[in-house]
């Protein structure tokens, strides 16, 4: 279980710096150090089980239906990475504490850094591919935040966006690959997948899976040609670059390759893709590193090159090559983190990272020079540093490889060339910064504080120590990691600086000499390179992004031009097109049930409805008349519900009709009083066509449906209503019980809409016309007496009816929704009759509170069923004997219904009363006389 806490420490700990408060930098740095150190401690608790040959695992079920478990494992490979992530992470936190400028939002920085650390730790500890993918995306997100940390710089924003787009596109491909693996294997658990290598390799979809997974891994690990985001990611603060280039982000890709080698590796497709892409990346990165002027740029291209090296080794696939890849992951992380730290120090102390402007710093900054030179030597692969070991192994593995057949010698030559180039750019970096002539106007610089140097020096010392004592320091860890990747095939490592004269050593010597020449002749080389136009995938990317933005802007403007008519037409036409396809078979339109007979009542209702609909369309330029006509439609719909025995619906329709009429009258007051100018005949014809088509399709659908026997679930509800829900009114039982969750969602939306309206209207001031459309001044009688009296008399009666309809709702027509609307209308009537202030004084209710408490009550009723061990919103009912009233059936659904009632009352009044209130304050002052 401590494994879970190991992961949770940095993930949850990312909140710690935010909570720590702004005391001072030292305090904040210490706080940020707690999570990684805690995680290291917890990791060491798990370690004995791993060393004893076990496989420590944690498994918690999360979403079993999707195959997603919160499953973690610690094997050798995870251990290697976890140590790098946590160890380097801690050092980088210490370093960042000194690096960041005083007034930067450092708490946020540390929080992002810890999140990044936690995400990366999640990748390496995951025992489930889907979980791994989740953390994979989380690293992308965290790195986006970190690269764009200096968001005021456009470079930072662009670099962040580019890395996010490239790596998360890769992430999507990876997800597809993982899902395909899951389909082939039948499980996403890592153990199952790794054991199913045979199945996967035999599958017909194997090439597709490999392509998708490799795309994801290469995008993350900056392999050619997806490498272009990495040099731009150096816009990040240097501690981030140090972390991103050494232990996290780019290492996630090679980690994934190593992780999936048992499942997907060992085919020529895998081996050739990895080794060729790796070789290309190795050379490409090394070549361009030689011509960079920016310190961090050299390091970024060198990272690309070294990642290519690791990919190449993984591709070669021999036991020795894989072990060498793991060793190089460790070595590269150590020297690259140290180098970025020193680049940050140089930038920090001199204010520039440009090689042309730097020089001769060895005298002024002796400690920085020591640190940088050691790490650079490791990067160049010089003895006695750790980089030399992995380079020798690489050369040996290349020489051994049978992968390229007759071309093997050429591959070895190319690897030697890359080694030569890496010596070249390392030399150029070291000499350019620390030796030679400095700027004449150079202000005096000096080493930074010891504690800022300490992390880098520690890493540089490790590079040296691993070089000197590889069998003690590196071999056990690498062997353990290698065992996790290739099991019993793990070679016994024989790491040493001196193996006697051998071919790899000879190549190394030649490479070092060649590197010297390359570094000396670099200006001439650069002049030759400058003759060729530089083609960068980045430009392609930027152009693509711009084109995509333009295209989507064009589409958006076509679809969203601000015309409601356009939106409506598009929506309706889409619906018509979708439904019209099915209706193409006109001859089968009439179903087997035949047509029902007409009666007088139906004809009457239909005539009324048609009259209202046509009338409201015809009179659309006279808004009030149009509304009156619309009201006829509403009434006839209610009558139709009555005719077809749906009293619940009829009552709902009637009360909604009233409420919406009040709403429309309120809104109409604020709309332009003059009707819009007459539109062209062409547009009217177009609208007629759309409306006609839509009506035709809907009518045909209705006709087709009503003349068929449909399999309906009505029978189930009718049968189960009384035994299952304890109510005779099926409609209400469905609302509050069977489909209670839907109702719950609806009242939530209603309350939210009400609250949003409330907020939007809060400070609104609107233009208020002084007279009506004809220009006649408003009447001076504010509150006619008859209306006031009737409204007051009606209130108790309406509340009584509302209570009655609410209480009997479970068994007979009614329920919380209708009752809520009735109450709302009765209260609104008071506002209409006596005005806002008068009613407000007598009814000092906060409607938002009413609505929210209704929602809370409904939630509480739902949650209460958990107390009894039932799912959310399970209802119960019982019969009770009450004095005077007699036997009464009470269902827990009644409480839920009360919540619905309160939410409806609160939301309705919240919207309407506040809309009405908008005018009260700023009314033009034509006052009544009496």
């Amino acid at each position: 279980m401590s494994l879970l806490w190991t992961l949770l420490a940095p993930v949850a700990g990312s909140l710690l710096p935010l909570a720590a408060g702004r005391r001072n930098r030292r305090w904040l740095t210490l706080t940020a150090l707690i999570p990684p150190l805690l995680a290291l401690l917890l990791l060491s608790l798990t370690l004995p089980e791993l060393l004893a040959g076990g496989l420590p695992r944690v498994q918690l079920s999360w979403m079993p239906a999707l195959g997603l478990d919160l499953a973690l494992r610690l094997d050798g490979l995870s251990l290697l990475f976890a140590l790098l992530i946590l160890g380097l992470g801690s050092l980088i936190i210490v370093y960042a504490g000194h690096y960041l400028h005083r007034d930067e939002p450092d708490a946020r920085f540390f929080a992002y850094l810890l999140l990044f650390m936690g995400a990366m730790l999640g990748i390496v500890l995951s025992d489930n591919l889907l979980l791994l993918w989740l953390f994979w995306e989380l690293t992308g997100l965290a790195s986006f935040l970190l690269i764009g940390f200096w968001s005021r710089l456009s470079d930072a924003r662009r670099g962040a966006r580019m890395s996010l787009v490239v790596t998360s596109t890769g992430g999507l491909a990876l997800l597809a690959g993982i899902l395909l693996i899951g389909q082939e294997v039948g499980s996403l658990a890592l153990g199952d997948v790794l054991a199913a290598g045979e199945t996967l390799r035999a599958s017909s979809r194997y090439p597709l899976i490999v392509a998708l997974v490799l795309f994801g891994a290469f995008a993350k690990s900056a392999q050619f040609p997806l490498h272009f985001w990495l040099p731009h990611a150096m816009a990040a603060p240097t501690p981030v670059s140090a972390f991103l280039h050494s232990a996290t982000m780019v290492k996630a890709g090679v980690f994934l390759l190593a992780r999936l080698t048992p499942a997907l590796g060992d085919t020529s497709l895998w081996a050739l893709s990895l080794s060729l892409i790796g070789l290309a990346t190795l050379l490409y990165g090394a070549w361009f590193a030689l011509f960079e002027r920016d310190l961090k740029g050299i390091l970024a291209f060198s990272t690309i090159s070294h990642l290519g090296l690791i990919t190449l080794l993984l591709g070669l696939g021999s036991p020795l090559a894989i072990a060498a890849a793991l060793l190089h992951i460790l070595n590269h992380a150590l020297f690259k983190a140290a180098l970025f730290m020193s680049a940050g120090i140089i930038d920090h102390q001199t204010g520039t990272r440009d090689l042309q402007r730097l020089g001769g710093l060895a005298r002024a900054m002796p400690l920085t020079a020591t640190l940088t030179l050691m790490a650079t030597a490791a990067m160049a692969g010089l003895p006695p540093f750790n980089g030399f070991l992995s380079k020798e192994l690489l050369l040996a593995a290349t020489l051994d490889s049978r992968l390229f057949g007759g071309l093997g010698a050429a591959v070895t030559l190319l690897v030697g060339l890359a080694a030569l180039l890496s010596v070249g750019y390392s030399l150029r970096l070291a000499v350019g910064v620390f030796f030679g002539a400095g700027r004449p106007d150079e202000p005096a610089t000096h080493d930074p504080s010891r504690s800022m140097l300490a992390p880098g020096l520690l890493l540089a010392a490790l590079c040296l120590l691993i070089g000197l004592l590889p069998m003690t320091l590196a071999a056990p860890l690498v062997t353990l990691a290698s065992r996790a990747v290739q099991g019993s095939a793990t070679p016994t490592l024989d790491l040493a600086l001196w193996h006697g004269p051998s071919l790899p050593l000879a190549i190394s010597v030649v490479a070092v000499l060649g590197g010297l020449v390359a570094a000396l002749r670099q200006p001439q080389l650069a002049r030759i390179v400058a003759l060729f136009p530089r083609r960068d995938a980045r430009w392609l990317f930027e152009a693509g992004v711009i084109r995509l933005t333009k295209a989507s802007l064009w589409l958006t403007l076509r679809l969203e031009n601000g015309s409601l008519q356009r939106y409506l037409a598009l929506l309706l036409l889409t619906a018509v097109a979708m439904a019209g396809l099915g209706l193409a078979q006109v001859e089968r339109l009439t179903g087997e049930r035949g047509v029902q007979p007409l009666d007088g009542m139906l004809v009457l209702g239909a005539a009324l409805m048609v009259f209202g609909a046509v009338g409201s369309a015809l009179s659309h330029r006279w808004r009030l008349v149009s509304l009156l006509m619309l009201s006829v439609v509403g009434l006839s719909v209610a009558l139709t519900f009555v005719r077809f025995s749906a009293p619940d619906l009829a009552m709902t329709q009637l009360s909604v009709e009233v409420v919406s009429m009040i709403l429309l009258m309120l809104a109409l007051f604020f709309l332009p009083q003059r009707p819009p100018p007459w539109v062209s005949t062409r547009r009217i014809l177009r609208d007629l066509l759309v409306a006609g088509l839509c009506g035709l399709v809907v009518a045909s659908l209705n006709y087709a449906l009503l003349t068929r026997e449909t399999l309906s679930i009505a029978d189930f509800f009718l049968r189960e209503s009384v035994p299952g829900g304890g109510g005779g009114n099926v409609v209400n039982v469905i609302l509050v019980d069977f489909r209670g969750f839907d109702t719950f969602g609806e009242i939530t939306v209603l309350t939210l809409a009400g609250l949003a309206t409330y907020k939007l209207l809060n400070r609104m001031k609107l233009f208020m016309p002084a007279g009506n459309v004809e220009g006649i001044h408003w009447s001076r009688h504010r509150h006619p007496l008859i209306l006031a009296v009737i409204a007051q008399i009606l209130l108790p009666l309406a509340l009584l009816v509302s209570a009655y309809i609410f209480l009997r709702g479970h068994n007979q027509p009614g329920g919380g929704f209708i009752a809520g609307l009735i109450t709302a209308v009765a209260l609104l009537l008071q506002y209409l009759a006596r005005g806002y202030d008068w009613t407000r004084q007598r009814l000092p209710l906060s409607y938002p509170l009413v609505a929210v408490s209704g929602l809370a009550l409904a939630t509480a009723t739902g949650l209460a069923s958990w107390l009894f061990g039932y799912p959310f919103l399970t209802s119960t009912f019982g019969h009770f004997q009450l004095p005077l009233i007699g036997e009464l059936e009470l269902a827990s659904a009644l409480l839920f219904d009360l919540g619905v009632y309160l939410a409806v009352v609160g939301a309705t009044l919240m919207i309407l009363v506040n809309l009405g209130r908008v005018t009260t304050v700023h009314r033009p002052s034509i006052e009544e006389e009496n």
């Binding site: 007088g600 009542m601 009457l604 009324l608 009259f611 009338g615 009030l624 008349v625 509304l627 009156l628 006829v632 009434l635 209610a638 009558l639 009555v642 005719r643 025995s645 009293p647 009829a650 009552m651 009637l654 009360s655 009233v658 009429m661 009040i662 009258m665 309120l666 109409l668 007051f669 208020m768 007279g771 009506n772 408003w778 009447s779 009688h781 504010r782 509150h783 209306l787 009606l794 009666l797 309406a798 009816v801 309809i805 007979q812 027509p813 009614g814 009735i822 209308v825 609104l828 009537l829 506002y831 209409l832 005005g835 806002y836 309407l912 009363v913 009405g916 005018t919 009260t920 009314r923």
Partner: protein
């Protein structure tokens, strides 16, 4: 006997509705149309009650009550709109 009475009242109410609709369509003024709408509401109460009598059921009674109780509120809102513009002051 009841049947005959029902038929006669139905015919009368339908005739009344037809006239309401005609008034609503012709106007000429907003108040005319408003009154027509209000009368349609009143007549539909009668229609619902008749239906209840015809089918011998009480289920529809509440719908009729609702129209009687709330139907006039929308008419009132429109009246206030015509008189004062702003219906909640």
């Amino acid at each position: 006997m009841l049947d005959t009475a029902l038929w006669i009242s139905l015919a009368l109410i339908v005739a009344a509705l037809a006239m309401n609709v005609a008034r609503l369509a012709r106007g000429p003024d907003i108040p005319d149309r408003l009154l027509a709408l209000d009368t349609i509401y009143v007549n539909s109460i009668a229609l619902i009650v008749l239906l209840g009598l015809w089918l011998n059921t009480k289920v529809y009674f509440e719908a009729a009550i609702l129209i009687a109780m709330l139907g006039f509120v929308s008419t009132m809102a429109i009246c206030r709109y015509l008189l004062r513009g702003d219906i909640i002051e």
